[in-house]
């Protein structure tokens, strides 16, 4: 098979709504022109979402602690246990943040922390119950890394941790901590975080218990394209089994204030990965742009590269900001960007239901 038929055969597969394999994905990485990727990803996006609509959610990131035993090399947010700048959020601060979120039309909070060695399962139960008793708000919380950490800390199964948290009020799980789902890479950048297999297992258990989750990928550090493809295929396989992923959100590693010294990924590299993710992850319904890492302009352009969701208004964001990138985007601006690109903008909830 020569080079030309490769791209041509991928075009045919996309036209016929067929699944792409790892070789196809590699051909796209190695050979497709930027606008060709947009053509193909746009076609797949239109097949999945024929209506010219782009959704967004209104939420706030609340980091209940920055104390983390993980010590990932790419992270500028965490403080090690015992560090004077470490914190655990006070209930009064938490309440204030949620009140502000609701006042601004927010429908959910993204509750994430570090892997704090002194917080046990009871802390989390009380945290969730406290919120649910006081507020009517969706709790999108705790990445698989935190769940796995909590299971180890409490010496109970992942399923038990999840059931307990669900009972206490957890509504869905964000797909953070996935980084690159290849242990060879994880061992180098986040050796203390759960393995790729464990991450996927937490998601599988969560899906089987009826929780919806998202999936992410952080790229642009030490991985190669083959690792990105492996990441996609692992997610796709699990999604075939469970159907529990609502969205995929790729973002680029931000090297400032971290221990990994690499050239930051450029906009074009981000758009290429975004488009290829839309093409390979044919069973994950939604692809989100990451304006937090890319800025408003490239996020808007991402809508022409396969993405159909603008992510969240993020009334507060701390983790990426700690790595020196501090984009801000009010709700009105998200709407303007979506409509300027020719789409109808609709606010959604965590399950992608449109909010009237």
């Amino acid at each position: 098979m020569n080079i030309m038929t490769d791209i041509e055969s991928i075009k045919e597969k996309v036209s016929d709504n067929q699944r792409l394999d790892a070789d196809d994905a590699m051909v796209l990485f190695d050979q497709a022109e930027l606008l060709q990727l947009a053509d193909l990803a746009g076609q797949r996006r239109r097949d999945l979402h024929p209506e010219p609509v782009v959704t967004f959610v209104s939420d706030r990131n609340i980091n209940y602690t920055n104390v983390c035993a993980s010590g990932c090399k790419f992270c500028a947010f965490f403080r090690p246990p015992g560090h004077p700048e470490g914190y655990v959020i006070k209930n009064s601060d938490l309440d204030k943040k949620i009140e502000e979120t609701i006042a601004l039309g927010g429908t959910q909070i993204l509750l994430q922390g570090g892997m704090h060695p002194d917080l046990d399962l009871n802390y989390y139960i009380h945290l969730l119950q406290h919120i649910k008793n006081k507020f009517k708000i969706h709790i999108h919380g705790f990445s698989p890394t935190e769940i796995a950490f909590l299971a180890d800390l409490s010496s109970i199964s992942i399923e038990q941790v999840l059931s307990t948290l669900i009972e206490a009020g957890l509504d869905s799980i964000p797909g953070g901590g996935a980084e690159i789902l290849v242990d060879e890479i994880r061992n180098k950048i986040s050796p203390n975080k759960c393995s790729a297999g464990k991450w996927l297992d937490v998601m599988k258990q969560a899906h089987l218990l009826g929780l919806k989750t998202t999936a992410t990928m952080m790229f642009g550090h030490i991985e190669e394209n083959k690792h990105i493809i492996e990441h996609f295929l692992k997610l796709r396989k699990l999604q075939d089994e469970t159907g529990g992923f609502t969205a995929f959100i790729p973002w680029t590693f931000q090297p400032d204030n971290t221990k990994i010294d690499v050239r930051p990924s450029t906009a074009v590299e981000y758009l290429r990965v975004l488009a290829i993710s839309r093409l390979v992850l044919d069973n994950i319904p939604n692809i989100q742009v990451s304006w937090v890492t890319q800025g408003a302009k490239i996020a808007q352009l991402g809508l022409a590269f396969g993405a159909n969701d603008f992510g969240s208004t993020m009334i507060e964001e701390n983790v990426v900001a700690a790595a020196g990138v501090n984009f801000r985007l009010p709700r009105s601006e998200i709407i303007r960007l979506i409509e300027n690109a020719g789409y109808k903008s609709l606010q959604r909830d965590c399950f992608y239901n449109v909010i009237e």
Partner: protein, 376 residues
């Protein structure tokens, strides 16, 4: 109809459009036919950003293949004192106002000497209309640059400054240009055009020369054997029709003189201006403008994605939407940053090369006239 063409590497690329309104335009582009104002309006009102990108990319590749140009330059803004008070400007100051400045010839000497070790090939120099500066000051600026850096190209003064200089020198336009040329002026950067429209001039820059005079000055510049760029300041109160008219006016002059080298769309930054309520341009605005410029200005060699204005990230992507030049390394950019630009104030040569390579294009360092510079 065949809508596929072959890339330099032998692979095929289809000019895919998803907006059927653009089919006729695609046919014109493939057949090398000139687009008219109605075509430009269709392009502006289409949301098929990728389709528009393909058409512009087709023309761009025909002219320049995989090359993406940049220049190692230094910006000199000799004064921000200006009597024009254009409403879109965050840079100008009145005489005596705090933050106003005017460089002395010694200041200029120092700014150049500070960077004398760097392989700068172009000095880009523009300033406000400061009535206290005599004609000789401008000649001294040029001579000083040539004295310190004899091999550098001086790209300086907009048509607005040239017009002002002809008035204070008491010379005809021709003689003014001739005198400046003798002192070292080699090229004009193309600013001051804003939008070539009487309506926009009345509303935003009534004290500055209008489009007839701007075009006349540039015509004389080209007749004198100097080249220039052309710009358009967009994203404020102009209509799409006014943008299209701007293209047609530039294209007509270029048909006569062939003196324009590059077209540079300038995205309006409203912060610190009287129009600060106008939101910034979007990626779709910026890329459409670049692509449509590439398609309409069929007699211009180069289209610049000026990263200072649209940000490094979007400038990089613009190379796939018709742009072939990222402008320069630029240090000390002042005019746009005073209006709130969040791009870097300067990019190193290595960083520009890296941006170009990471997007699959071939970086080419050039001089002001697009001759390739071989670097080690």
């Amino acid at each position: 109809m065949i809508t596929t063409f072959e890339l330099s590497n032998g692979r095929k690329m289809e000019l895919m459009i998803t907006d059927n309104q653009l089919t006729d335009i695609r046919e014109k582009v493939l057949n090398n036919l000139r687009l008219d104002a109605a075509d430009a309006m269709k392009l502006y009102t289409s949301n098929d950003i990728i389709g528009i990108g393909h058409l512009a990319d087709f023309i761009r590749r025909k002219r320049h293949g995989k090359k993406a140009f940049f220049v190692y330059n230094q910006h000199l803004n000799y004064t921000n004192v200006c009597i024009n008070h254009c409403r879109f400007c965050a840079y100008s100051r009145s005489k005596g106002q705090s933050e106003s400045f005017t460089l002395t010839i010694d200041d200029v000497r120092k700014k150049l000497s500070d960077r004398i070790e760097e392989p700068i090939t172009e000095i880009h120099m523009v300033g406000g209309i400061n009535p206290e500066l005599p004609f000789n000051y401008y000649l001294d600026l040029l001579r000083t640059i040539k004295e310190i850096r004899p091999n550098v190209t001086i790209k300086a003064f907009t048509a607005v400054e040239i017009d002002h200089l002809s008035r204070i020198s008491g010379l005809s336009l021709e003689d003014t240009i001739h005198t400046l040329k003798s002192a070292g002026l080699e090229m004009l950067p193309g600013g001051g055009a804003e939008v070539l429209s009487a309506r926009i001039r009345d509303k935003l820059f009534p004290r500055k020369i209008g489009h007839e005079r701007w075009l006349k000055v540039i015509n004389k510049i080209h007749s004198a054997g100097l080249t220039s760029n052309a710009t358009m300041l967009y994203g404020h109160i102009e209509t799409l029709e006014e943008r299209v008219k701007h293209f047609i006016r530039l294209r007509s002059l270029q048909d006569q003189t062939s003196g324009f080298t590059a077209f540079i769309p300038l995205a309006f930054h409203s912060q610190n201006t009287p129009m600060s309520d106008i939101p910034s341009t979007t990626a779709f605005d910026d890329l459409k403008n670049i692509a449509i410029a590439r398609l309409m200005l069929d007699n211009f060699d180069h289209i610049k994605a000026y990263w200072v204005m649209i940000g490094e990230k979007l400038a990089q992507t613009a190379l796939s939407f018709g742009a072939d030049d990222l402008d320069g390394t630029i240090l000390e950019e002042k005019i746009t940053h005073m209006a709130g630009a969040t791009s870097s104030k300067g990019l190193t040569r290595q960083k520009i090369r890296g941006m170009i390579q990471a997007s699959g294009w071939e970086p080419v360092e050039r001089d002001s006239f697009y001759n390739e510079i071989r670097t080690v």
